[in-house]
């Protein structure tokens, strides 16, 4: 298999991930707002959030959302089930396929592999925030034009991964475009179109088209 981009939290089971978060809390590493919220929810002795719902605040597509979720709820489930932002898809739910890709502080992240409580204080961009409804972001336009989609279930993840990639590397070579977006899987087999779309999107974003 080709080398895939490592997800933000690859290799951690959710349980292990929770433990890590817990450890971070007691070590006082979690950033201000998150730590405060966690502390507010935990008993005096054990600084543990949950297992019941806790209030959290998420910044998504430039808007602030207050919601109540159990600490184990992933960012992906919070987006999809609580905020009805269903562009990010759930497929493997464990950091393998990339269909849930969103941008967290500008970097591509697998939303299934990050807890919603841990996404607090960070700027989350989902595909819905890429362009206003009814408008096409140049990357989306490149995917349409190059037929980089069939069923389209993987497409939002590819588009967001492409955004993160081009933000980092606005001038990919053809050889790079061939392997870029290796962190996303497509079952319909749209990679030939995706490669073309990456190059085309790069050109469009520079106003080349």
């Amino acid at each position: 298999m080709s080398k895939r981009k490592l997800p933000t939290q690859k290799g951690l089971s959710r349980r292990a991930f929770l433990k890590t978060t817990g450890a971070a809390v007691s070590a006082g590493v979690v950033s201000g707002a998150a730590a405060e919220l966690l502390n507010a929810q935990s008993t005096a002795k054990n600084k543990v959030a949950g297992p019941g719902e806790v209030p959290i605040t998420l910044r998504v597509n430039g808007e602030t959302h207050n919601l109540n979720v159990e600490p184990r709820v992933t960012l992906l489930d919070a987006l999809r089930d609580r905020l009805d932002l269903t562009g990010a898809k759930k497929v493997c739910d464990r950091g393998t396929c990339g269909t849930c890709t969103v941008l967290v502080d500008g970097k591509a992240a697998y939303a299934c592999s990050m807890l919603a409580i841990d996404a607090q204080g960070r700027e989350i961009l989902t595909i819905e925030g890429l362009a206003p409804e009814g408008e096409l972001h140049p990357i989306s336009a490149a995917f349409v034009e190059n037929d980089a989609q069939q069923c389209g279930f993987c497409t939002p993840g590819f588009v967001m991964a492409c955004k993160a990639y081009l933000d980092r590397n606005p001038n990919p070579t053809e050889a790079q475009a061939k392997k870029a977006l290796g962190g996303n899987l497509c079952r319909c087999g749209t990679y030939i179109g995706v490669r073309a779309a990456v190059l085309d999107a790069a050109a469009r974003m520079k106003g080349g088209r």
Partner: protein, 734 residues
């Protein structure tokens, strides 16, 4: 009068043009609402409890604790205690709760006592399958013994493909919502018009009566099916039952592990093959003993040999092995990729033994394919060879280039029927000029929606954007399930007829204004005009205004079966692969794949091309990576996830070239489907290319590094001109 026949080549305004997918924007902006994305007010989340065992008797099911869990609103048994479960993943019970997390907790709290029973999950040959097998009758044609006597060269080998899964990215599932006694179901299905009957029956068996007319299936978009989404499924019925009990909508999508265990698998097929030919390459005899498992059911009976079905003397026999694994479902071109791999590998091995360039060998033996297809294959092989630069690149078995990277070429030939399923289309033309078509069909991502719009717009002389296509709703005129490459034939025929009939009604209304009889009129360039005299024209909107207040509605059909002059069936295609194999690591890299395919009249080359790319990419997946692994001791699936059930990634697929056989001799056959054919050959072409590269056959796909290295063990050093490499390996430096 406009004719229903397809316009001739020079007169097509849209058919054959590269039209961009109509639902591209809604998908690439994340706004498309798949079943998985449907969030209804008050909706509950469903979860399934399934058997962890491959074979067991259910002693008791205790849901009392689960029912008391927070958020739980309904529980539905799917199998009674006392009954047996026959594979890991078989559904036992469904429940619904306020949140997905609560539903998952509750599912874990269900207490089921099993009495484990002996299981058999091995993908084993008959001699190791004990009583778990059914031998089918031997098929004999000609005199195989005599045929082998006449052979001057014979080759023997074992070839095969393991069980693989569909792994649709959108899991199987649905959202069910009741409103009084009507049921609305958003379903991820390939069969919008067909599943309500099954739902009605399933509900009735559970004591809920609902007339089929009260059931609506909605599938505006769906995230992949590949043959695994034709039925309502047990979980579809359970979801509707839960929604009824709870009085609230319920969403139930399979989790990925369950999806891979239970929601579709392609049967394995293996075969011991013997094949003989004259020194000049002419085939004389074939014999094969094949076996394979379709899980618990009877799927996967091959017809061998494949494509070269007229080898004069042949014998074949198949044994079905029954295992306690999830049932097989149609997987894109059922049985064909397996039959293709077995046949084309055996023939390529024989060619290598002769020795003969397989391209010449396949060309030589075209008299043994069905006569209607021989010339197509010849032209395709010639075209493919040109695109691959076959004659320049091909070498005999075993790449003698120094160094660890060995290159090779392989080819394969395939066939498929296709045709058109039954389909009904309604077309409405309104006085304001707007046009709508309605079909109870679905777009799996193949571009069906776009093709329908193109056919309608072509007929009416309008741009694609002037036609509104309504599909994905069982309330629309019924259309067949999307399977077997039959959709484009069905919907293009029904749409062509419905729109032609609607147009003819319009022409009759407009004719007086243009001072001619309707038969002198045509629709073109956004006008209704006198054929041959574009100056006598009236703009489409003005023409439609003559309808007054009454819209036109006309319907068209693709007859349920039998021939239809607009469509056809039966195609041939060839594929060629170029690979690079690292003989130190066993890793196979795809350099280039070439597909040459006929599919009659190509409506939209842009989406058709994507379908071939997609098929070849799926082919790379099953050729190199995919295998559903079962643990014989526990009876469980070892890789029900996407880390270890591996799909091809973007860096794995090499360069791809697609060529359609179109023009005279092809177009006039009418429309033929394309979903299946190009997925058939990749495994065989890639396997043959690897054999050509390393000088040995890797008997079974996927061609994983361990198997490649094992095959290399049998290759004499001289064959690969890599004595240095071998001695290094022997010295332990590898």
């Amino acid at each position: 009068m406009a004719s229903e026949k397809w316009p001739e080549a020079g007169k097509r305004s849209l058919i054959g043009k590269r039209v961009t997918r109509l639902d591209g924007a809604v998908k690439s902006t994340g706004r498309a609402k798949y079943t998985y994305d449907v969030n209804r007010k008050g909706m509950l989340h469903g979860k399934l409890v399934f058997s962890p065992h491959a074979h067991a008797k259910i002693v008791s099911i205790d849901t009392s604790a689960a029912e008391k869990m927070p958020g739980v609103k309904a529980v539905q048994l799917m199998i009674e205690p006392g009954k047996e479960v026959l594979w890991q993943g078989q559904e036992i019970l469904a429940l619904a709760a306020e949140t997905e997390e609560q539903a998952r907790d509750a599912a874990r709290a269900v207490k089921i006592r099993f009495e484990k029973l002996p299981h058999f999950v091995a993908d084993a040959p008959p001699e190791k399958a004990g009583q778990h097998q059914t031998a089918l009758a031997e098929q004999v044609t000609g005199n195989p013994d005599q045929g082998f006597k006449e052979a001057e060269v014979t080759s023997e080998g074992t070839y095969g493909c393991p069980v693989i899964t569909h792994c649709c990215l959108e899991a199987h599932g649905q959202v069910a919502e009741w409103e009084g006694d009507t049921l609305r179901v958003w379903a991820s299905t390939q069969n919008v018009s067909g599943i309500s009957g099954e739902l009605v029956d399933g509900l009735k068996a559970g004591g809920v009566e609902v007339p089929a007319s009260n059931v609506q299936i909605l599938t505006p978009v769906m995230g992949g099916g590949f043959g695994s989404k034709f039925g309502a499924d047990t979980w579809g019925v359970a979801c509707a039952q839960l929604a009824k009990k709870a009085g609230r909508p319920v969403k139930m999508m399979l989790e990925r592990d369950h999806e891979l265990m239970a929601a579709g698998a392609r049967p394995s097929i293996y075969a011991r093959v013997r094949v003989g030919a004259k020194k000049d390459g002419t085939l004389t005899a074939w014999s094969s003993e094949s076996w394979g498992t379709g899980g618990i059911g009877p799927a996967g009976n091959p017809n061998l040999p494949y494509v070269f079905t007229r080898i004069p003397n042949r014998r074949s026999r198949h044994t079905r092995v029954e295992t306690n694994t999830g049932p097989a479902r149609a997987w894109r071109a059922p049985n064909h990729p397996q039959m293709c791999l077995i046949t084309m590998s055996a023939l390529e091995d024989l060619a290598a033994q002769l020795p003969m360039d397989p391209l010449d060998f396949f060309l030589k033996n075209l008299p043994f394919v069905i006569p209607e297809r021989a010339e197509t294959y010849r032209q395709e092989l010639v075209k493919g060879a040109e695109l691959m630069e076959w004659k320049k690149k091909w070498h005999s078995r075993g790449d003698k280039t120094p160094g660890p990277i060995k290159r090779g070429l392989g080819l394969s030939i395939h066939t498929w029927g296709g045709g058109g399923h039954s389909s009904n289309c309604n077309c409405t033309i309104r006085p304001d000029g707007s046009v709508e078509v309605f079909l109870g069909s679905q777009d799996l991502g193949t571009g069906t929606r776009t093709v329908i719009a193109m056919v309608a717009a072509e007929t009416l002389g309008l741009p694609v954007s002037a036609v509104k296509v309504n599909i994905g709703d069982s309330k629309f005129p019924p259309s067949g399930a999307s399977g077997g490459s039959t959709t484009v034939g069905g919907v293009s025929a029904s749409t062509r007829r419905a729109t032609t009939r609607a147009l003819n009604e319009l022409l009759a209304k407009v004719a007086p204004a243009l001072g001619v009889t309707p038969d002198k009129l045509e629709a073109a360039c956004g006008t209704i005009r006198v054929a041959g005299d574009p100056t006598k024209a009236i703009a489409w909107h003005q023409a439609c205004a003559k309808l007054g207040t009454a819209a036109i509605t006309a319907s068209g059909q693709r007859a349920p079966r039998g021939p239809d002059e607009l469509i056809s069936s039966g195609v041939g295609g060839i594929q060629m692969a170029e690979v690079a194999v690292d003989v130190e690591t066993g890793v196979v890299k795809i350099e280039k794949l070439v597909a040459v395919q006929d599919c009659g009249l190509v409506i939209n080359p842009k989406t058709a091309e994507s379908q071939i790319y997609g098929a070849m990419i799926m082919g790379v997946g099953y050729a190199l990576y995919e295998e559903k692994l079962m643990d014989e001791t526990t009876g469980r699936c070892l890789n029900p996830d996407m880390e270890f059930y591996k799909l091809a990634g973007i860096g794995d697929v090499g360069n791809m070239v697609v060529h359609f056989m179109t023009g005279p001799g092809y177009d006039e056959r009418g429309v033929i489907g394309l979903g299946e054919p190009p997925v058939i050959s990749p495994g065989a072409a890639i396997s043959n290319a690897v054999a050509n590269a390393i000088g040995a056959r890797v008997p079974t796909i996927p061609l994983t590094p361990d198997k490649v290295l094992a095959a290399l063990e049998k290759v004499p050093r001289s064959a690969l001109n890599d004595s240095s490499l071998r001695s290094e390996q022997e010295g332990g430096a590898a």
